[in-house]
Symmetry: C2
């Protein structure tokens, strides 16, 4: 096998009370990539469709992630990558993570899986470091492992896969507005109260518990971000209304995807997730803001082969 066409999924990081620790993997939104072995060593990005991004290996997240993986191997060949982007940059659903994770996942498949999915995470994190300055794992971990992933710790890196209830669906709306990364960072408070932290911890414990027991009601009660959402919501026009609409339509909960501007909702069952999608769209129709909207089962596998 010298070539693979794969699906590299979009992901939601900062799942409400799981700010900076909990992410999930989507199934109907993602990029396609073709990765093939080349006699030439190193990583070459030969094609990039759908987004205006640099092709130079060292300036592209896929290239950087691939190089990080190559460093740990002693290969007499290299890889060529074609990237077909469907995930918009800056949408808050892991566009750069899909490219980084997809690259190392496909390379690993072509090499006969020398690494486990968890072992691939640090390579993909190098791509994230190029994209955002921080080697965070919130998006690449769910893209590689599938389902919900908890980053228990960074030092040392410790990623835990959390089970996904069968009927859980995500709805994600991406209003076509720009939220500057610098703004979404600068609104964060570096100090919070002990009480806020305890509320967040209680909810995170409830959410993890609900995911293990498929207790949708508990998941719903726990989908609350005490700390970050109140600060970042002001950067996303219509956020409060979109969230309220989602919940009124029957969503278990809703919040900011990553650092926005996408807004996600979780629902029990596809029909409900579709109803929630309709309801979430209303606000941006009214505000005359263009949007993309996606309904997706939680993808419990992560990256997958589309074609050998």
């Amino acid at each position: 096998m010298n070539q693979l066409k794969i699906f590299a999924p979009a992901t939601i990081a900062n799942v409400s009370c799981g700010f900076d620790v909990l992410g999930l993997c989507l199934d109907t939104v993602g990029d396609e990539m073709i990765i093939r072995k080349t006699s030439e060593k190193g990583i070459t990005i030969s094609r990039l469709v759908g987004q205006d991004l640099p092709l130079e290996t060292e300036k592209n997240v896929a290239g950087i992630a691939g190089l990080a993986m190559l460093e740990k191997l002693n290969l007499n060949h290299g890889f060529e990558i074609e990237i077909y982007k469907n995930i918009k940059a800056g949408s808050g659903i892991g566009s750069s993570a899909a490219s980084s994770a997809g690259t190392v996942w496909a390379m690993n498949e072509l090499l006969g899986k020398p690494f486990s999915a968890k072992e691939l995470v640090p390579f993909a994190m190098e791509g994230e470091k190029l994209a955002s300055g921080t080697a965070h794992a919130d998006n690449v971990a769910p893209a590689l492992l599938g389902g919900f992933t908890l980053v228990r710790s960074y030092e040392p890196l410790d990623i835990i896969k959390i089970p996904t209830p069968d009927e859980l669906y995500a709805t994600v709306i991406h209003p076509q507005i720009e939220v500057k990364t610098s703004d979404s960072r600068s609104v964060l408070k570096q100090k919070i109260t002990l009480k806020e932290s305890i509320i967040q911890i209680g909810n995170l414990g409830g959410l993890i518990s609900g995911l293990y027991t498929s207790d949708y009601d508990l998941i719903s009660r726990s989908l609350h971000d005490e700390i970050v959402e109140p600060l970042r919501a002001i950067l996303i026009p219509g956020f409060d209304e979109v969230k309220a609409n989602a919940i009124q339509a029957g969503a278990l909960g809703a919040g900011i995807s990553g650092s926005g501007p996408s807004i996600f909702a979780l629902s029990k069952g596809e029909e409900m997730a579709q109803n929630v999608a309709k309801s979430m769209s209303e606000t941006y129709k009214k505000l005359h803001i263009d949007y993309d909207i996606h309904v997706s089962k939680i993808n419990t596998n992560g990256c997958r082969v589309v074609e050998c």
Copy 2:
């Protein structure tokens, strides 16, 4: 059935990263209580052995908890309580909670269980309010429900029972020193950094996950309190050494029980928990501080009938 003799268990609150949200129930340490129906209405505390506490109903945590429960019922009789304390007051293993929880649990049994265990929690919390000024649930919830309990939220009260791995044992050492509640409160910082909070949240997620999957190694990696232990440890002479000894002897982790001065360790298997007990004792022998030490399986049922 007009009378019950029950075992009212000791409990550990603030289980490391679960500060203020996670508690567990012990099996070999606890009080005994006799509760009997009386023709006279109200609650009478007729006997209190082992501790110098007021017998007046309104000044005793058991009395207050019982009265809170009676308020929700329309009974033409009352209850008489005898309390045989084994749990020392101020030890940090839920002495007042055992009396509050034991009272309402036994009353509920004698009445044919009009309330679920979770519904009894708010009554027992009234006893805690008398004891410490705060109606906290960290100790009464595990005493009533057994096992590990998560207080997801206080407003509204939402208690989640978390599974207990079969081989999990606790070792608890109680050095005979006094830590003033006012001191253990005043050392807490009301503001913490976002980073500290995220570390704590990651660990709590890992701990809950480890409890669901009986992953002892994950439990061990997660038993870390980033926020409170570093502040409160200074109030307990020998804490760092006792903790280090416990871990060196093979404990999964160790921390402050409640607000101290008791120190707990969790271990896989009884033999390990006994070894840990020996090791934890060394420091207080050396410091010539008297101590009690207990080894206990986690009690997954909570209060229980000893004799009808």
